[in-house]
């Protein structure tokens, strides 16, 4: 059965990559015969060498590290603020009744649009970028923490009660472990959000890592370079997403 699964997987991967390669070839042909203007869309055969050129000349590794450091900082802030706020809302029932819909509403608001505000406070700096990544992802983590704590199985709480655990013990031994998978999935969503917004703000304020690279190459009208830089952004976010997915599967075998 596993050989069959593997064969199916190769078949699917071949179809996906084959389609992408075919699209690239068709684009190359359309540009070469002049159906698409080559000053609007660069030749795919020019984009491929641009990956190497951009990596060497524009310091992609350093920019990658800058973006990664910003995402990490936003992630640490997220855990330090989001999880305690979720716990607070869970513990104080009245507060939850008053605020949960507010947090849910904020989760659907375009928080990243506040970036000009943070530009005024922090200037064009990494602080602005990290704050936007952090704030944009915060509501999701609060809600997921709250959801995880609330969906603890009542049986487990009854066991804690019959063992006469006091509040802190119940929390540390029962509630928190039960909520961890949900908190982790909140963190996965949050970090993805944070990275999207961090790269976006880098692009918008022309500062920092990979997002700025796209902006700079576009302003220099280096079309193959711009496409290559976009390729790097896609690569980094896919890598982060994939890693988080894998880690979540470790924490939460059923998901």
């Amino acid at each position: 059965v596993s050989a069959q699964t593997a064969a199916r997987r190769y078949q699917a991967a071949a179809l996906a990559f084959g389609t992408l390669a075919a699209l690239g070839l068709i684009l190359e042909l359309l540009i070469r015969v002049g159906a698409i203007d080559r000053y609007t869309v660069p030749l795919p055969s020019d984009i491929i060498p641009a990956f190497w050129r951009v990596a060497v000349e524009e310091g992609v590794p350093a920019r990658f590290l800058a973006t990664a450091a910003e995402t990490l900082a936003a992630g640490l802030l997220l855990v330090a603020v989001g999880v305690p706020l979720g716990i607070l809302l869970f513990s104080v029932r009245l507060l939850r009744a008053a605020c949960e819909t507010w947090v849910a509403a904020l989760a659907s608001a375009p928080i990243v649009l506040m970036y000009p505000l943070f530009l005024v406070v922090f200037g064009r700096s990494q602080a602005t970028i990290v704050m936007m990544g952090f704030l944009a992802a915060l509501p999701a983590l609060i809600l997921k923490t709250l959801e995880g704590l609330s969906s603890t199985r009542p049986v487990l709480l009854d066991v804690a009660k019959s063992l006469k655990l006091h509040h802190t013990q119940t929390f540390m031994k029962v509630l928190l472990p039960a909520a961890l998978p949900s908190i982790f999935s909140g963190l996965r969503i949050g970090l993805t959000f944070a990275l999207i917004n961090i790269v976006g703000v880098e692009f918008l304020i022309n500062f920092g890592g990979l997002g700025q690279l796209v902006n700079e190459l576009a302003e220099r009208y280096d079309l193959p370079g711009t496409y290559a830089a976009i390729g790097y952004v896609i690569l980094v976010s896919v890598l982060l997403f994939y890693a988080m997915d894998r880690m979540e599967r470790l924490v939460r075998p059923g998901a």
Binding site: L15, T19, S108, L117, V199, F203
Partner: protein, 249 residues
């Protein structure tokens, strides 16, 4: 404790929290600890909100932005719907393209803005295109997942009754797909709003995003806060509306 009193307590707490926040804000504004213009007085913001909302300028820019978002949702949503149905219906296509959609869906779409400007110019078209590719992914993913989760028994029952394909679509696929489609569009709407507005702040001469960045460059902070409050209120209301639509059977 009866339900009405607890509802009253929630209301009181909300009022207390709001007035507390406003009081802290006003104190910060008057303390002089921060630059005065960064944290303007509540009264200045309220004044700016009234001026902004009572002028015609705001509504004409709002109309532009709303039209962009509607066009983005129509184009990207239709493409996402079609892609989701095709990819979701066929196992090989699903295995090949669902991961591609899943992983590409989590990338920042804003970096495609220079490409959109090259293709469609600096006008509304490039914002529509950016919004469209942003909302394409959540719609496609949600629809593909919905297609996969249709109860196969229903399909077999339909086939055994020799239902015509339009009948199958009306009686089996449409009712089963309503929720994933609405949910996909709800997620897509949120992302299209952000993409469109951010595109406007980067490069445009129309729309609400343009007004925000204009308030920033002229350092009119009360007006910027007023615009942000208006944008947040509108997008939260829109999301609530669509969510309600998703819940009604």
């Amino acid at each position: 404790m009866t339900a009405p009193t607890s509802r009253l307590r929630v209301l009181l707490l909300r009022l207390a929290l709001l007035s507390g926040l406003l009081a802290i804000w006003e104190l910060m504004a008057r303390s002089g600890l921060l630059f005065q213009d960064v944290v303007p007085s509540v009264i200045a913001i309220a004044g700016a909100l009234v001026t902004t909302l009572s002028g015609m300028e705001f509504y004409s820019h709002l109309a532009t932005t709303l039209a962009e978002i509607a066009a983005a949702l129509a184009l990207g949503g239709a493409a996402g719907l079609a892609a989701g149905i095709v990819v979701g219906a066929q196992p090989l296509l699903r295995r090949a393209f669902e991961p591609l959609l899943y992983y590409l869906g989590s990338t920042p779409k804003l970096v495609f803005f220079p490409v959109m400007i090259m293709l469609f110019g600096v006008g509304v078209e490039s914002k529509i295109a950016l919004g469209a590719i942003s909302c394409f992914f959540p719609v496609a993913l949600s629809v593909a997942a919905g297609m996969r989760q249709i109860n196969p028994v229903f399909i077999r029952v339909g086939r055994s009754f020799r239902a015509a394909s339009w009948h199958m679509a009306r009686k089996i696929y449409l009712p089963a797909m309503r929720l994933p489609v609405v949910n996909g569009f709800r997620l897509g709407l949120g992302i299209a709003v952000i993409a469109t507005l951010l595109g406007e702040t980067k490069l445009s001469n129309r729309g609400i995003g343009h007004l925000v960045i204009q308030a920033f460059t002229t350092f009119n902070m009360p007006r910027m806060y007023a615009l942000l409050i208006a944008i947040f209120a509108i997008s939260i209301a829109a999301n609530a509306l669509v969510s309600r639509f998703a819940r009604t059977p």
